[in-house]
């Protein structure tokens, strides 16, 4: 993880999300949560960022063999950017529907694959943008406002 400070305006966290180790999935989110606590952000904001980021992190692990997570803290908002070079999402509208999932039975047996990830990410953030190209990868940018 790298932490960079630009003139106390912005704090940036970066993580590699390991796509091979399902059991460690969530580490980046737990880490970010810890840092946001230290920054003194409100518990509600921290909860929303954590949940959205965790869902995105899990998706990178179960659908895209890992990727990179970046979290930027501004004075008025927290921005989460998740980038992967996985298979991409064919139909984003469909993927956004509650209950839609292409997860395998193995993933389901671990309690994931309820098709709630993307809807949760949308619900818990103030803005979410998905860019996805089949065969190239997916980038998701989410913003949680601080006030």
């Amino acid at each position: 993880m790298v932490t960079v400070r630009y003139m106390d305006k912005l704090i940036k966290f970066e993580f590699d999300v390991d796509g091979t180790d399902f059991t460690s999935a969530g580490q980046a989110s737990v880490n970010v949560k810890k840092h946001l606590r230290q920054l003194g952000l409100s518990p509600e904001v921290i909860r929303r960022v954590s949940i959205a980021m965790y869902e995105g992190e899990i998706n990178m692990v179960i659908h895209a063999k890992g990727g990179k997570a970046e979290v930027n803290v501004y004075e008025d908002r927290v921005e989460i950017i998740l980038r992967d070079t996985g298979p991409g999402i064919k139909d984003i509208n469909l993927a956004m529907q509650e209950g839609y999932s292409t997860a395998t039975d193995n993933v389901r047996s671990l309690g994931f694959g309820a098709g709630m990830g993307l809807p949760n990410m949308k619900r818990y953030t103030d803005n979410m943008e998905i860019e996805s190209v089949l065969g190239e990868g997916t980038t998701i940018k989410m913003t949680v406002n601080l006030n």
């Binding site: 399902f22 059991t23 999935a25 969530g26 580490q27 989110s29 737990v30 949560k33 518990p43 909860r47 954590s50 949940i51 965790y54 869902e55 899990i58 671990l110 309690g111 994931f112 309820a114 709630m116 990830g117 809807p119 949760n120 619900r123 818990y124």
Partner: protein, 107 residues
């Protein structure tokens, strides 16, 4: 009610208690982790039969007061170690999820 009262009142086994004084403000039951993630509220007691390590990440991120494993489910050593290092309250109830929830609702 407080997390530490679950053992006293119902005899649930304490697998890892970090903050027994934490107040429980409601109960959420569920085994689908991302469902729970989006629905369980902060400081709820979360009842589940799932015991893999991802349960701890969900518990920590959704900030529940404790995890109650129903049906007498326990944690593997490895997962228990993670619970300890993350400081997550985990108990085990010998009863099924429904009965466990009913017991808490009457408390």
């Amino acid at each position: 009610m407080k997390v530490c009262e679950l053992k006293e009142k119902f005899g649930f086994a304490e697998l890892n208690i970090e903050d027994g004084q934490r107040e429980i403000n409601g109960v959420y039951c569920g085994d689908l982790l991302s469902w729970v993630m989006g629905r369980a509220k902060e400081s709820n007691a979360w009842i589940t039969i799932m015991s893999n390590v991802n349960v701890l990440a969900v518990a920590s991120l959704s900030d529940v007061a404790c995890v109650i494993l129903s049906e007498g489910v326990l944690l593997d050593d490895e997962v228990l170690k993670t619970a300890q290092s993350k400081g997550i309250n985990v108990l085990s109830s010998p009863y099924p999820t429904y009965e466990t929830a009913v017991m808490l609702s009457k408390a």
